[in-house]
Amino acid sequence: MTATGRLNWLGMILPLALVLGLELWLRTAGIVTDILAPPSQVIVALIGGLLNGTILAATLKTLTGAFGGLLIGGSLGMLLGIVFAVVPVIDRAMEVTVEALRPIPSVALLPVALMVFGFGYGMEFAIVGKSCFFLMLILTRSAVRGVEPRLREVARALRLSRAATTWKIILPASLPRLFVAFRLAASLSLVISITIEIAVNPQGLGYAIMTAQQALRPDLMLAYFVWIGLVGLCLNAGLLLAQRTLFGRAALTEEAR
């Protein structure tokens, strides 16, 4: 889909040709492999998995892990990002701490999280939460700092209080960029939760991919790839729709206003 909502036929040519080519190649060359399957078999596996409920059950677990972490970490990160941007002293005081903790890869914390939370949602919330927290913190801080200086001057000239300035000027002015940050955090949360499931946590889509691969079912494994792509696409579309409908003009980007 393009921004105008019409199907982009020109953009569909290459993916369709690739799928068709893969199908023809695997069918005619007589290749036997454990990592590839003809697209037709992938579709059959996808429909089968959807019909018997295993894919949806795994999706539910992954999304719960992802969104739980996103909500906890993302909202905390956004809140602190606003505070950091509005009160420079706090930002300076926290700079070293934040910059020291932020580069630690989320996945490197897996052994610790495993010991603290064991298998299950707890470790996913913690690890996804850590990633989303820092992403939202940094992006929120820069979104709030990037507010047009003239608007701050208008607020000062009108003698708005700090609370009123934040609520009436700073937040609405940074809303479009906050939404972009939230969409990035949402897709990151999905990536991290699936990574955790592939690495250690025996649940959800990541674990299902591993199981399919070990069962020598490349068709099912690829079906999960396709499905994860679709879930990500729907997630982004849903968030875009929410941005347009929930917050009105304030959430639109400058160009769209």
């Binding site: 009108l158 003698r159 609405p172």
Partner: protein, 255 residues
Amino acid sequence: MTEAPKFAFASATLALGGKTILQNITFDIAAGDFVCIIGASGCGKTTALRLAAGLYQPTTGEVRLDSHPMTAPRPDVAIVFQDYGKALLPWRTATGNISLAMEAGGVPKAERGDRIAELLTLVGLSGQGEKYPGEMSGGMQQRLQIARCLAQNPSVLLMDEPFGALDAMTRQGLQDEVLELVARSGTTVIFVTHDLEEAIYLGDRVIGLLPHPGRVGIDVPVRLSRPRDQLTTREDPEFLRLRRELFDFIKGSEA
């Protein structure tokens, strides 16, 4: 003049980052005067206006309103910025933008509606209250910003090259409207512009700044009858004489 001046720059000097931007600026403005500030670009005329607004504090010296030093922005001093596109809230309608000034001033909600309608009519935007700034032309957006400033009931109106970004026809229309507005309300105006003819056409007095550092170089009264007229005023020999004088001043200040 025995009466205390409405507005006064008293040896105001401003240094930012170790560099002197404005040096020893001194002049008085009587209540109801329309004073234009001109100068080559970079001479600090916009900075001087920010001092007057209380957005900056002088490093030494004082800026006084009604004999009180301006230590912070005041509700009865309103400032119109040049870049109306950035100074208006794009997510609020015209009504909402004017309302912002009233919210800041603590005007009760019940009283805002009528006053906003009145202000919209005053600046020629009646019936446009539900439009967003993005749906308005540049001239309309600047009218809206002026309306927001008038919502503060200012006794001093500061204008920073307000018509610089507008086309010639729109600019002339707005010049006459602003003159009419302030003539009716008796507001004191400090108007910064780089357009010499605009300064003469609007002002009771034109102050020219010299650059590096910014300081007062010329201060001339404009003895042209009011109301001004876009054709006859601009053809008046006195207008032409002032234009020559100020043109020579700017040229000399750049040399």
